[in-house]
């Protein structure tokens, strides 16, 4: 092994980790002990690496993320149990029970998340993320009455009021999503634009109780914003907050308001 080969190998060396157990690295480290020039290079390289590693360590995890993961996954588990009741009911119900129990326990043992996590902006991105990344439709139907009944039955917001243009859009179904221990109604539509083969919807409405969102709009006038490649409109009416999203620009969404 010459110096250049040793340097190439030692570029991957992370002091203080199990990397030194790697035979190639162990050999290169042994060479560095014998060769002062290589040792100097290694010392400087290690210091540079440590500076970079410290930057990654400085990434801080938002408060409340763990509780949010648990609560939202619990909502999903409940949904799955409905969908697969006949086949996996016992297993899923047991898991849901455990998760719900943990939520109840965590509400008394773990300090509540900071209000900063409860922002409208994060809610908006989370819901748009659900629409973009693919989701399981709980109910597939073009009947608005069935959708409302399903959401009522599953204790999700169902006393919503839709803009006149949206009432005329083609409904495709709905799902119940979770947001920090509250249920969110997701109502799916089709705009009429051509869609990829595996996609049935391209317009999504999320409805949540206003009290669950810090910084929620108070006006019934829509506020537009591009979020993750979708154009969104947010407005409030009564005790509900509405978030509508689709692809395109503001004009693409205005026609449904």
């Amino acid at each position: 092994m010459n110096h250049d080969e040793a340097k190439t190998i030692l570029m991957l060396y992370r002091p203080g980790t199990a990397d030194a157990d790697d035979p190639q690295i162990a050999g290169a480290l042994a060479l560095a002990k014998r060769e002062p020039e290589l040792a100097r290079w290694l010392e400087e390289h290690s210091a540079r690496q440590e500076a970079l590693r410290s930057k990654f360590r400085q990434v801080t995890v938002p408060a409340g993320l763990k509780e949010q993961i648990i609560s939202e996954s619990a909502a999903r588990v409940v949904t799955i149990s409905r969908q697969r009741r006949n086949t996996v009911f016992a297993a899923v119900a047991a898991m849901a029970s455990v998760v719900i129990l943990l939520i109840v326990l965590s509400s008394s043992w773990i300090p509540h998340r900071q209000n900063d996590d409860n922002t409208m902006a994060i809610y908006q991105k989370q819901m748009v993320g659900i629409a973009l990344r693919g989701y399981g439709m709980d109910l597939t139907t073009n009947d608005p009455a069935q959708i409302r009944a399903y959401l009522t039955q599953n204790k999700a917001p169902s006393d919503y009021s839709l803009p006149a243009a949206l009432q005329k859009a083609a409904f495709t179904g709905c799902a119940v999503e979770g947001w920090q221990n509250v249920r969110v109604s997701m109502i799916c539509f089709r705009t009429g634009r051509p869609l990829p083969p595996n996609q049935s919807s391209d317009l999504w409405l999320f409805v949540v109780d206003r009290g669950s969102l810090k910084g929620a709009p108070e006006s019934n006038q829509p506020r537009f914003a591009a979020v993750k490649g979708l154009i969104t409109a947010v407005w409030a009416q009564g005790d509900k907050v509405y978030l509508l999203g689709t692809e395109g620009d503001e004009s693409a969404i205005r026609k449904f308001l």
Partner: protein, 175 residues
């Protein structure tokens, strides 16, 4: 077997390293939260299919990485910059100069690297993973991981050296 892994303890054990990996890739807090959460949602739905409980960690990181790639493909909102071949010698960027950078600048440089190097380099610096684990997470052979790491580290340092020389400020994530 995976059914025996308690969900909450799984979350408690892995949500922080998963979030840090997600943040390294996405550079945006809500996106990173979303990726982390989605990873556990997929676990809740499909984790029971995993037979070898010792693979939970790599399964979670692999899933998060796939989700990130899927979202990025859909959104094409992470512009890529074509880079020349990494120089055989590392650029002369001092550890002190790196220390003066903030995390955002470092992640900005990571985001400008070739796609293929971003995830291995992030996993490398996060230090929770051996080379074998990184290979398993990314589903590539060990030798490929090592060569990608060597080239990726070179690219990162090259970019940082340019940024430091140019006095560049971190770029906000593109939404």
């Amino acid at each position: 077997m995976a059914d025996n892994v308690e969900f909450e303890s799984l979350v408690a054990r892995y949500y922080e390293p998963l979030y840090k990996f997600a943040f390294s890739l996405a550079r945006d807090e809500p996106d990173a939260c979303d990726l982390t959460q989605q990873t556990f949602c997929i676990w809740a739905a499909k984790g029971h299919q995993l037979r070898d409980v010792t693979k939970v960690k790599t399964w979670l990181f692999t899933t998060l990485h796939r989700e990130f790639l899927g979202i990025r493909r859909k959104q094409t909102r992470f512009p890529q910059v074509e880079l020349k071949e990494a120089a055989p010698e590392l650029p002369a960027v001092s550890p002190a100069a790196i220390s003066r950078l903030d995390t955002g600048q470092m992640l900005d440089a990571l985001a400008r690297m070739d796609d293929v190097y971003q995830a291995p380099v992030a996993l490398f610096y996060l230090e929770d993973h051996s080379y074998n684990e990184i290979a398993e997470i990314l589903k590539v052979p060990l030798g490929t991981v090592k060569s990608r790491l060597a080239r990726g580290i070179g690219q990162l340092q090259q970019l940082l050296a340019r940024d430091i020389a140019a006095g560049r400020n971190p770029q906000p994530p593109t939404l």
